[in-house]
């Protein structure tokens, strides 16, 4: 009943196809290398294109002037101011909430369903398109669901002194102090823009901060507790100082992403033409990428080819600078355990 096996250890059964397999190997190697280099090639072409078209237009006028109908006079002064203020505010808002959430999740939260849900939630938010955050910002911060409009239930109920007009809203001084002027709803102000961007980068800030906190060895904490002190004290004096460079790096990288964002700010109401510098954070504004977009859409080549490229050079330089700082900080404060 034994099957007759005519298998032998001979070469005829194995047609040695080594040479063709090695050929396939070589072709595949080339294709793989091409995959990696393609993107880099495109990046290089892009940078050269922008440098060539925009370089001669990076002049003092670019920084001193507002946008103008004459290309020779056009600049992005208001956009630069707007970008800097919005990013500054975004950092201010996102740092405490983002780091606070990271501390909570890493140091306080127990492994229960709520924590799992929060984790899931953060990961999900990281994948939401940026334009959706713009719409969120428009309704929640910009318009505040319309409850401060003339005739709304809240205005009637509390008899609020609403300013009429399309912007409407309430202007008052916080605690009566003249400099702490506030405006509700936030409308198309830089505050609204910064809050929108805060929500956008929050998931990334949290994730980066968590990693930095997680990298602190447990032995450090144990040493602190063993000396007889409270949890928050251990975190504040031992964990955070060690995690700080990582947190800071994550923060800077998130902000550098925020500087390049256009869509959310357009949706929540940033303007494209702003011929003045802002007086307060409640003013209307524009940002660098929106200015660039504006120039790209204008018909004259001076705008859509040259000025746009010049604006891009400025934007990329800012990004380069920010990322450089982040990398420098990371290297400088890196502790090798």
């Amino acid at each position: 009943m034994q099957k007759q096996y005519t298998l032998s250890k001979s070469k005829e059964i194995y047609k040695d196809n080594i040479s063709s397999r090695n050929r396939a190997e070589k072709i595949f190697n080339i294709l793989l290398l091409f995959s990696v280099l393609f993107g880099l090639l495109m990046l290089t072409v892009l940078l050269i294109d922008i440098a060539v078209e925009g370089f001669s237009w990076v002049r003092p006028e670019l920084f001193e002037n507002y946008h103008s109908r004459k290309p020779e006079n056009a600049g992005m002064k208001s956009a630069i101011a707007g970008s800097l203020i919005v990013i500054g505010l975004t950092g201010l808002f996102s740092f405490p909430i983002g780091v606070g959430a990271a501390i909570y999740l890493e140091e306080y939260a127990s492994q229960n369903k709520l924590t799992a849900f929060i984790n899931l939630n953060i990961n999900n938010l990281a994948g939401v398109p940026s334009i959706v955050y713009g719409m969120l910002g428009l309704v929640v911060f910009g318009r505040m669901f319309g409850i401060f409009r003339e005739g709304s239930w809240l205005v009637e109920f509390l008899n609020l002194p609403i300013q009429s007009g399309t912007t409407g809203g309430l202007k008052f001084n916080l605690l009566g102090i003249p400099w702490l002027e506030m405006q509700i709803p936030f409308g198309r102000s830089m505050v609204a823009g910064a809050l929108t961007m805060t929500l956008l980068i929050l998931p990334v800030v949290i994730i980066a901060a968590r990693e930095a906190i997680r990298a602190v060895p447990p032995s450090i904490r144990e040493g602190g507790y063993a000396l007889g002190t409270t949890k928050w004290h251990v975190i504040k004096t031992l964990v955070l100082p060690i995690a700080f460079p990582g947190i800071l790096t994550g923060m800077i990288l998130s902000l550098s992403r925020a500087i390049g964002e256009t869509a959310p700010l357009i949706i929540m109401g940033a303007f494209t033409y702003v011929p003045f510098l802002p007086n307060s954070v409640w003013d209307q504004f524009t940002v660098i990428p929106i200015q660039i977009y504006n120039w790209i859409t204008l018909p004259q080549t001076e705008y859509r080819v040259h000025l746009a490229a010049a604006g891009i050079i400025v934007l990329l330089l800012i990004l380069f600078f920010l990322n450089g700082i982040a990398i420098y900080l990371r290297k400088k404060f890196e502790i090798k355990w």
């Binding site: 099957k3 250890k9 005829e12 059964i13 194995y14």
Partner: protein, 278 residues
């Protein structure tokens, strides 16, 4: 075999040497280093055909390094350097004219921890054959290999199931079936039973005895009893006593298993076997 042997001996080591016609693998003057650090020095060994040769010794003395050098598996580790020659079928496998891919089909390997692919049992055994452009009937080949590996009866009804559904011992026999499916001349086994329970270990040892008919087997093992049970010839490696801190591995004694274990020629061998160290 006695007429085919000579021996070399000095105060450092003792080794029997087989004649050309019964030697299948000849390691000559091997000096192996990783990233500049020497790990094996002046290693010479002739592996006899169709016998089981065991490689024993304390951990860290280079046994795995040696056996992995036999099929050029160490090539994938960066920093690996081998001086010397390993002659197989009349050619030095480390010469730049030789293709390691081709050599590995002819010199197969089974690893310490069973490593079946995340595929079906059938696909695992057929994998090597498919790559090497096997011309015959794959089902027959798979069946035959599994029979040789003493696994056929246990898996013949579930060839399409995942290999991970098998127990540790079965997975290892599957890996053996996979290795012999490509008809190698030599089967290298790097501590094949160390991750298995005693019963599975016994099965592997029985299998090795059966496979000896068709294949030459070189097995690295930590387990001296296993070596004495299973092998025909044993090579004992240890650290070079002159340079103990440098941790360089050398061949101490190579002899027929019965002789090595009952009347070792060198004191170091005797110390290791009687458990005084290692």
């Amino acid at each position: 075999m006695v007429n085919n042997m000579t021996f070399t001996s000095n105060i450092q080591s003792y080794s029997i040497n087989f004649n050309e016609d019964v030697t299948i693998l000849d390691a000559k003057q091997l000096n192996i280093s990783y990233s500049g650090k020497l790990v094996v020095e002046d290693f010479n060994l002739k592996i006899p055909k169709n016998k089981i040769t065991a490689l024993i010794g304390p951990s860290g003395c280079g046994k795995s390094t040696i056996i992995r050098s036999f099929n050029r598996m160490n090539d994938i580790i960066s920093g690996f350097k081998l001086d010397g020659e390993i002659v197989y079928k009349g050619k030095n496998i480390y010469s730049s004219f030789e293709d390691p891919v081709k050599i590995r089909r002819q010199i197969g390997m089974v690893f310490q921890k069973p490593n079946p692919f995340p595929k079906s049992i059938f696909e695992n055994v057929a994998f090597g054959a498919k790559i090497n452009n096997y011309q015959g009937n794959l089902s027959d080949l798979v069946e035959y290999s599994l029979i040789q590996a003493a696994l056929w009866d246990e898996v013949k009804d579930k060839l399409n199931e995942s290999a991970y559904a098998l127990s540790g011992g079965q997975q290892q026999r599957l890996c053996i079936a996979r290795a012999i499916a490509v008809s190698p001349d030599i089967l290298l086994m790097d501590e094949p039973a160390s991750a298995l329970d005693p019963i599975a270990t016994l099965k592997i040892e029985e299998l090795m005895w059966e496979l000896k008919e068709k294949y030459t087997i070189v097995v690295v093992t930590h387990n001296m009893q296993q070596a004495s049970r299973v092998s025909d010839y044993t090579a004992f490696m240890s650290l070079d006593r002159e340079q103990i801190d440098a941790r360089i591995g050398v061949l101490i004694e190579f002899d027929e298993t019965t002789r090595l274990f009952t009347r070792p020629k060198l004191k170091e061998t005797e110390d290791y076997i009687s458990g005084r160290f290692g």
